[in-house]
Symmetry: C2
Subunit: 205 residues, 2 copies
DNA sequence: GTTAGCATGTAAGGAGTTACATGATTTT
DNA sequence: AAAATCATGTAACTCCTTACATGCTAAC
C-alpha cells in the first residue's frame, strides 16, 4: 500500500520524507491518508530491502561549505534499480490486491505507469468486485427491507447509489481504455509492453 | 467499531455468532464487513467485560431431552444491563470517533436508538469533516492540477464528486432532522428522550 | 523572541485480516 | 454418502495510528 505509493512517487523524482507525505496527500486526494508514524518506518524498511537509498539533501545547498557533518539535514530518498523493478512488479499485479477498496485508488493513481492491458484487467476486476457486492446487498435488502428502520434503509440506499456511481465511472473508463488506450495496434498482437516508459509524457508542458 | 455494532444488534435481539455476522452484513451493507476472526475474539472480550452473556441456544430446541451436555451447541449472546449502559454511552458520543470514515456508518446504522440532538451533531460533524477535506483537496488540486496526469486527475475528480454527493446527502438529512426530528414539541424544551424504546415496532407483523 | 511550519523519528498499541482447524446439520 | 453450509474458534500477522520526543528555520 504505502510501499507502492512511495515507489510510485519516488519513481517520478527523489523526495524527502516530509515532502513525500505532501505528495501522498496531493496524489491520493480524498480517499486515503498516511501519517508520519507509518511513513518513516516504511522508508526504513524499504531502504533495508534495498529499494531506495538515502541521500544527503543538503549537499547541493551548502555546496562548498566546510564539513558540518554532524548536522541533521533533510534525507532525500531515491529509487534504486531494484526499487524500479519492485515497482514494475507491483504495477503488473492484477489481482484482488489491486482492486480492493483500500488498494484500488493507489493502483489507479499510478495507471500512467501501468501497462494498458493490466489497467483494463484491474478496472474490470474492481467493477466485478463492486457488482458482486451490490448484488449481495440488493438480495439481502430485498429480504429484510420491511424489518429495517428509516436510518438503516437510508444507509443501504446511499451505499447502493455510491456503488452504482462507481460502477458507471469504471464502465466509462473501461470503454475509454478500449478505444483510445492502445493507439498503435488496431487488432491482433496486444503486445503488452510491460516496462517501456512512454518517451515523453510526464513533464509535458 | 465492531463492539458498537455488536451491542446494537444484540440490543434488538439475542443472537449467536454466525447469525450476528449475517446481520452485520445486512445492517452495514456496502460499506463495511467483518470476519469471524475478529467477531469471536470481540465477543469473548465483551463477555469478559460483562456486557454480554452466553446462553445455551439449544436448550429450547431439545426441551425435555436428557443431558447431552457434552455437545457443542450454538452459543447465543445477549446483552446484560451493563451492556445496555455501555451501548447508550457509545451512542451518546458525538465526536471524531463517531464521524470518521470507518465509524460513521456504524453510528448511523443505530440512529434509530440515538438521541435526536446527538444525531444532528454527528451529521454536522461528519459534514464539516468532509467539507474540510474537500477544501484541502481543492486547494492542493488548484496548485498542482497542471502537473497531474490523466489518471490522477480522474481520481481526484471522482473523489471530489463523491464527497460532494455525501455532503448533499448529509445536508438533506440534517434538514429532515431539524424539521421532522422532534415531532412532539414545537419549540422550547427539546427533552432528549434518551433510552425510551418505541412501544412496538421491532416485531411488528 | 516567539509562534508556526518544516523535518525526522520512536514506542506502544489498536483493530482488524488470513489461514487454519474442527465439527454439526442440511441438502442433493 | 458427498457436498454445501452452518457454526465456533485460534495463532500469527499486517498495517497503520496516536502520542511523544527532538530540533531546525522562517515569519511576525
Amino acid at each position: 500500500m504505502l510501499e507502492l505509493a512511495v515507489l510510485g512517487l519516488l519513481h517520478e523524482s527523489p523526495l524527502h520524507g516530509y515532502e513525500l507525505r505532501q505528495r501522498l496527500k496531493a496524489t491520493l486526494g480524498t480517499f486515503r491518508a498516511f501519517s508520519y508514524g507509518s511513513l518513516y518506518p516504511t522508508l526504513r524498511r524499504m531502504r533495508d530491502a534495498g529499494w531506495i537509498t538515502e541521500d544527503d539533501g543538503d549537499a547541493e545547498v551548502v555546496a562548498g561549505a566546510p564539513a558540518l557533518t554532524g548536522r541533521r539535514g533533510k534525507v532525500v530518498y531515491k529509487l534504486t534499480a531494484e526499487g524500479k523493478e519492485r515497482f514494475q512488479e507491483l504495477l503488473a499485479e492484477a489481482g484482488p490486491s489491486s482492486w480492493e477498496d483500500e488498494t484500488f485508488g493507489v493502483h489507479f493513481a499510478f495507471f500512467g505507469q501501468t501497462d494498458p492491458a493490466v489497467r483494463v484487467r484491474i478496472l474490470e476486476g474492481r467493477r466485478s468486485r463492486l457488482e458482486e457486492r451490490r448484488e449481495g446487498v440488493r438480495t439481502t435488502l430485498a429480504r429484510t427491507r420491511s424489518r429495517l428502520d428509516r436510518y438503516t434503509l437510508q444507509l443501504q440506499e446511499h451505499g447502493l447509489e455510491s456503488v452504482d456511481r462507481e460502477v458507471r465511472w469504471l464502465t466509462e473508463l473501461i470503454e475509454t481504455e478500449r478505444a483510445g488506450g492502445p493507439p498503435p495496434q488496431t487488432s491482433e498482437t496486444s503486445t503488452t509492453s510491460q516496462i517501456t516508459p512512454p518517451p515523453t509524457e510526464r513533464g509535458a508542458p
